[in-house]
Symmetry: C2
Subunit: 282 residues, 2 copies
């Protein structure tokens, strides 16, 4: 993708921001913590454990270490999920002891080798969902995680010298601009020059898992300490394109928050008529 002759320049369309801001407005305010649970699982009348599971404050640095080790043992999705779940097994015990982290193995390589949603994000989102509710607040944390991941220079985590799982030393970094494994890996290969199946790429994904695990622990802690603020937004193109293509738009023919111009041709936003003519072959 990045090697293709695509016009990737940023557009001036809607740069006054008013409409775009209205479209991609996300809850940037301080979100209050709801229903803080003591460290004991609630049960429904029928004896079933109720959602959310009990929260206990997470150790961010420990999350990174568990996430990294989890990647080396069982890939990214397991690692990011276990970074939270293992701490809660130790601190809370049941019902976390009844949920093996292996139930998220499938997310490795973006879902059974498909390279869709980054497996570390799949595992992390599930971990957030286990302890954070209600649903709309939980989704705000997950969206913030995805928005952050799109702009973060992965990887930053460094294993202790001599203890790297796949490759020692500093690694090149890259920004994926996408929550998709396929794009994230491709961009890093381009930036680093390493091959997609190299031990360095695997090491990069292990460290990325640690970065994601740490951020996830931070977000969950912030939510429960009532200090969570959504600080990242989807790509600029989302607000622009969705003005017509998204909810309430003239076309309303799609949905989503992935950067549109990573897959679609860029639009000369000073000349929407050209875009329409091209699309409709006029």
């Amino acid at each position: 993708m990045a090697e293709e002759k695509k016009t990737m320049s940023r557009r001036s369309f809607l740069t006054n921001g008013a409409v775009a801001a209205g479209t991609i407005a996300i809850g940037g305010g301080l979100l209050g913590g709801f229903n803080f649970n003591p460290a004991k699982a609630d049960e429904n009348a029928n004896g079933r454990v109720a959602w959310p599971l009990p929260f206990a404050t997470l150790d961010v640095e420990k999350a990174k270490v568990i996430g990294y080790k989890g990647y080396m043992a069982n890939q990214c999705c397991y690692g990011a999920f276990d970074a939270v779940m293992e701490q809660l097994r130790e601190k809370v015990g049941y019902p976390y002891t009844a949920i093996p982290s292996e139930i998220m193995l499938w997310g490795g390589t973006g879902g059974a080798g498909y390279a869709t949603l980054c497996g570390a994000l799949i595992g992390a989102a599930t971990a957030i969902n286990v302890v954070v509710h209600p649903k709309d607040q939980m989704n705000k944390l997950v969206e913030e995680l995805f928005n952050w991941a799109n702009t973060f220079e992965f990887p930053q985590y460094m294993p202790p010298a001599g203890q790297a799982g796949k490759a020692e030393g500093k690694l090149p970094t890259s920004v994926s601009g996408s929550p998709l494994c396929h794009i994230s890996v491709s961009n890093w290969c381009k930036a680093s020059g390493y091959r997609a199946e190299s031990k360095e790429r695997s090491e990069r994904c292990g460290r990325l898992t640690a970065d994601v695990a740490g951020k996830t622990a931070e977000l969950i802690n912030a939510y429960y300490s009532k200090t969570f603020v959504a600080a990242h937004k989807p790509a600029e193109s989302v607000g622009e394109c969705m003005t017509c293509h998204g909810k309430g738009g003239t076309l309303e023919n799609t949905r989503g928050k992935m950067d549109c111009i990573q897959c679609h041709d860029d639009v000369d936003t000073n000349n929407l008529l050209d875009h329409i003519k091209t699309v409709w072959n006029l």
Copy 2:
């Protein structure tokens, strides 16, 4: 995407099949069932429930009904996950009673509104992972589910007359060619003429959740009865493009099994030199 002037024609590149088949070869043989568990959870030495959780034969039609109702209550990811988990809570009890299906709410709308991996597939893959092991066999089931979903005419499930959650009657169908929510919804909107936030689109996703839930129950049952056969493959372009771009290829600069030409320009495979010239701007 579908409205854009893209050359989507199929190519003759590698149509002798030999190299492509080698690249996308998937386990098409009969997969034996491993480690069939009696309906009692194994525990590790430290008192933790061990993966996989106990299996019990699933009712495929019931999975569809639970999946559909789950969608209407809590969106697609919850619905597909609950279609399996609720049956196992009823048949097996613990430890399923300790895992609320709400832990998969985040996958609705392809992940907190991001429209990445289809939420029904996220929930279904997690459900498969809960009961099927070892990992490589579990991943084969998940890949088969994704490959099947890419080619299936969604939606087929019909709620009983008068009991539809969002919209009664037959709905138009479409094939997404992708496991991504964004593409799946866009293609259905184009095929049906309905808007992305219409009640008909929501109904369509509810019925899709039922279809995915039914297929998932079928796959899990087939695995445990030793009759599972992988019957679907990734898109043709994957084998073609990955010959150079994938594992072991000259470039090896990406990974994945999503149809390449849904996002990338098609390549005149009788003239690879042109492709190289274009990419490198020669």
